[in-house]
């Protein structure tokens, strides 16, 4: 592969992702409100929130925290760019794990009980979804013979018909990453929870804006990963990703937030169990 096109795509993705991510979050809030019988905020609300946060004065309770929050952003950006450069999926997920670690480090650095509780739960979340993502990459290798994003495009069949259970498992990971019920244990989007937004407790103003921006990137990255399950043609994958997104919102609204132990059990049982079952079936049947 020549590098010209991937670089153009990656640059475009990096530039467009905030827009797409922000609109997705806006859609999330709008749809959630509608499901709850409310009018909801305008679609552009996330951008207003972002702009407002940028303009606020900051309150810093630990220097290390602000360093790590920037690292969180930049590392996510790295993973994001790598993905859109068509690179190795495992590398992308490892770097993404580094980013998640940075977020946890930032919260742990703050010495606030709430932030630290949040960070510990964030780590538990990572314990839940990391294996799923790694195994999903392996599953993609099973089907395409390569670990790179590029190889998915080179394969001549869509993945979803062969990896349906893997897709379900990835939905679990997506639910955790999107911080949606029943898995929003570390820092729920709804502020009414016992940890006062956990990892984000000690951040304010521009730093919070940065975290929000990173979430947008993360969201777009995960949606793009979901779209990989059907890239022949690509628009089917995009539709599937949107369907999955809607499904997450739906589940968020029909379920209570569960405890971490349940989350771990569910993601390992459903997530890992499904992937393994799918791989076993695949190697038995083909």
């Amino acid at each position: 592969m020549t590098l010209t096109w991937p670089i153009i795509i990656a640059v475009a993705a990096v530039l467009l992702a905030p827009l797409v991510g922000g609109l997705l979050r806006g859609l999330d809030r709008k749809l959630t409100a509608r499901m709850q019988g409310r009018l909801g905020p305008p679609l552009t609300q996330p951008f207003y929130d972002f702009g407002k946060l940028v303009g606020k004065s900051r309150s810093v309770s630990s220097r290390a925290s602000i360093a790590w929050v920037w690292s969180y952003f930049l590392l996510t950006l790295t993973a994001f760019a790598l993905f859109f450069l068509g690179q190795d999926l495992l590398v992308v997920f490892f770097i993404l794990a580094f980013a998640g670690g940075a977020l946890a480090f930032g919260a742990l650095s703050a010495r606030s009980p709430y932030a630290r509780f949040g960070a510990n739960r964030e780590l538990l979340q990572m314990l839940s979804y990391e294996p799923i993502l790694l195994l999903a990459a392996v599953a993609i290798y099973f089907q395409t013979g390569g670990f790179t994003v590029y190889s998915v495009f080179e394969a001549n069949q869509p993945l979803l018909p062969f990896l349906p259970l893997v897709f379900v498992a990835v939905l679990v990971a997506l639910g955790i990453k999107m911080r949606k019920s029943p898995f929003d244990i570390a820092a729920s989007e709804h502020a009414h929870q016992e940890l006062v937004r956990g990892v984000y407790t000690e951040y304010s103003g521009p730093h919070l804006a940065l975290i929000e921006l990173t979430h947008w990137y993360e969201l777009v990255l995960l949606m793009a990963f979901l779209a990989l399950f059907w890239v022949q043609p690509l628009w089917v994958g995009v539709l599937i990703a949107f369907a999955a997104y809607f499904l997450e919102l739906w589940i968020d609204n029909i379920a209570a937030r569960l405890r971490w132990s349940w989350m771990l059990g569910a993601s390992w049982g459903v997530g890992i169990g499904f992937i393994v079952a799918n791989l076993v079936l695949l190697s038995v049947l083909l």
Binding site: L74, F98, L108, S261, S283
Partner: protein, 641 residues
């Protein structure tokens, strides 16, 4: 210099220095002796590498009389073990020593018929060079570190009579023996060195002579004796089945008949590498002074175990044994990583992490493809550097803070900035891409994923284990980074800090230059073992048949992502705001709040260990039994085939 000289230097210099140490009672004199000696050892290792790497394996066979000397020494050591068993009234040690005392003559005289000429006795290929470099460089640095550490340690214990001579005797001896071990091609010689490492380890663990130390040393001894028994049995079987006790011949012979001995040797390797269910000896070894832990965990002892498994890998490639070894290794990796989550003693976390990484190396050997073996070798190198350094850092912290509890390391950055930064880099290098250990993990997962069938289990274990690694490192790492500013001066003993910083830069440097490292060291080692090249190193990237890893680009990105914010944050000079405490902060001191009866209460933020899930009480029996079942399956699978 001639190869012979270099080899003898690498083995005998430490022995000689060790004997000198026993004679020198003065700490300063020891330092004066050890510094040049260790530098010499490093130079010798480098010189040997420069000779072997371009020219190919180097063979050496000492005069036949040495075979006899070694045989006699075997019995001397055995007699000593018996003596220990009797005096300590430890049934297990005694029993195993007796078994060994019966088995060894039977094998040596009955099966082997007295004397078997092995040619060559020493076979020094690139893999041996990798090991030798690790032992000589990392090991030597730890020795230098120990020269700073031990006087402080003894001062802390208020010893009247210094026990440093004994300490350094066993300590330095270890390096020579390890070098011998990795050079040996004759299984009998290997066995001899193997026994000496057990002996060194026993003495180092019991160095402090507390009841606990004695007890744990005995545990280490009997567990390693299990391995010795298996090894002797394996030697007998190997000769019986294949007619040779040369490792090279066994491995390249490819005869199905040697599988059982190979399985026994793997078992031996597992005991030495403290794989479950034998992990308790390594955990118990924590009672020894920190340099011992650093040495055991990084470059010697446990590495001998995985070295053996890796060395034999070509011999059992594409067999069910290989698969079972992979599953076993992956399982140990997962379960010990999970166990580490529940630990609050820093050294125990490090120990579990060591066992996990060794499990990963074992697993790599079991996966047994080019990429996997390459990953295994890379892991040996990177793990030795990072883990040795982490132990050293924790040791210094323990001496200066007076605690090895992770809780007490909370906010270490404010008190010991240099040490903290070193430790944090060390941890990051254990944990995240683009650093070497994670790179090896990446390669291992891709290699395992590329195999079908039962390797799905391996991949699953690896994936869960790798997530668990993330958790236990992160929750420790994150807590050290900020704390209440305390105006204390950080004492920085020169050799201790110097060696730590050297290793830190080593960990980072090797990771950055992983491409040359692969070309120079790992590729020759692979071809020496009969594998193909795992990586296409054209350009600045590492390309496998199915994956892609751009180390330099990643380093640039990650360095920018971590260092720039850190520098910027250092510049933030505004006053810090109090943390969120529900509006009841007490003004002034950090983390106090108004509690019951209007009195100030200090908020504490202890770490999370989730012991009801990951505690030893819950997981250890589970893991031991499962590992035992796997081991039985491993042997049974080979026997019943």
């Amino acid at each position: 210099m001639s190869g012979e000289l270099l080899v003898s230097l690498l083995v005998l210099l430490p022995v000689a220095v060790a004997v000198c140490c026993l004679a020198l009672r003065n700490a300063a004199a020891q330092k004066v002796l050890l510094l040049p000696a260790m530098v010499l050892l490093m130079v010798a290792a480098a010189a040997l590498a420069l000779r072997v790497l371009p020219e190919g394996p180097f063979a050496l066979t000492p005069a036949a009389v040495w075979d006899n000397i070694v045989a006699v020494l075997d019995y001397v050591i055995l007699a000593y073990f018996l003596y220990i068993g009797v005096t300590s009234r430890n049934g297990l040690v005694l029993g195993l020593a007796v078994v060994l005392a019966v088995l060894l003559p039977v094998v040596q005289f009955g099966v082997l018929g007295g004397h078997v000429a092995v040619s060559p006795v020493f076979h020094i290929d690139a893999l041996a060079i990798v090991m030798c470099l690790v032992i000589s460089v990392v090991g030597s640095l730890i020795v230098l570190y120990a020269t700073d550490y031990m006087p402080a340690h003894e001062a802390h214990l208020k010893l009247e009579r210094t026990r440093q001579p004994q300490f350094f005797f066993w300590f330095v001896l270890f390096l020579g023996v390890m070098n011998g071990l990795v050079f040996a091609n004759s299984l009998l010689w290997l066995f001899f060195f193997w026994e000496v490492t057990t002996l060194c380890c026993y003495h180092l663990i019991r160095h402090n002579l507390t009841d606990e130390a004695r007890e744990n040393a005995l545990r280490a001894l009997w567990m390693n004796l299990v391995g010795s028994v298996a090894m002797v049995a394996g030697i007998g079987l190997a000769y019986n089945n294949a007619g040779t006790i040369s490792i090279q011949e066994l491995v390249t012979g490819g005869s199905a008949l040697v599988l059982l001995p190979l399985a026994l040797f793997c078992l031996t390797g597992f005991t030495k590498a403290a794989q479950a269910p034998f992990q308790s000896w390594l955990l118990g070894a924590m009672v020894a002074p920190t340099p011992v832990s650093a040495l055991l965990h990084s470059s010697t002892m446990v590495k001998a175990g995985v070295y053996l498994v890796l060395r034999l890998a070509p011999g059992y490639a594409d067999t069910s044994l290989s698969l079972l070894v992979a599953i076993f290794g992956a399982f140990v990796f997962m379960v010990t990583s999970l166990l580490a989550i529940g630990q609050n003693i820093s050294k125990r976390v490090l120990a579990y992490s060591t066992i996990a990484n060794l499990g990963l190396i074992v697993c790599c050997a079991g996966i047994n493809t080019d990429l996997a073996i390459a990953a295994g070798i890379a892991l040996i190198i990177f793990h030795a550097v990072s883990k040795g350094m982490l132990f050293m850092a924790v040791g210094v912290a323990e001496q200066q803070i007076g605690s090895r509890d992770i809780e007490d390391l909370d906010g270490l950055a404010a008190r010991r900035p240099v040490l903290t930064i070193a430790a944090v880099i060390g941890m990051l290098s254990m944990l995240f891409l683009p650093f070497g250990v994670a790179f090896a993990k990446w390669a291992a997962i891709e290699a395992a994923g590329a195999q079908a069938g039962w390797f799905i289990a391996v991949v699953t274990f690896l994936a869960v284990g790798s997530a668990a690694t993330l958790v236990f490192w992160s929750k420790w790492l994150g807590r050290m980074l900020s704390g209440p500013v305390v105006e204390t001066k950080e004492p920085k003993p020169f050799l201790a800090y110097g060696t730590i910083l050297l290793l830190v830069s080593g960990a980072v440097g090797l990771s950055i230059f992983v491409t040359p490292l692969i070309t120079v060291l790992i590729q020759p080692a692979l071809s020496g073992m009969g594998y193909d090249q795992a990586f296409d190193v054209a350009g600045w990237h590492l390309r496998t048949t199915f994956g892609f890893f751009p180390p330099w680009a990643l380093f640039l990105a990650v360095a920018a992502a971590v260092l720039l914010p850190a520098l910027a944050a250092r510049g933030y000079r505004k006053e810090l705001d109090p943390v969120y405490l529900c509006g009841v902060n007490v003004d002034g001191p950090e983390l106090w709040f108004t509690g019951i009866a209007g009195e100030p209460v200090q908020a504490t933020t202890g770490g999370a260990y989730w012991t009801q899930l990951f505690g030893e009480a819950r997981l250890t029996p589970l893991s031991n039994w499962s590992a035992l079942v796997l081991l039985v399956a491993l042997l049974a699978g080979v026997i019943l085939r």
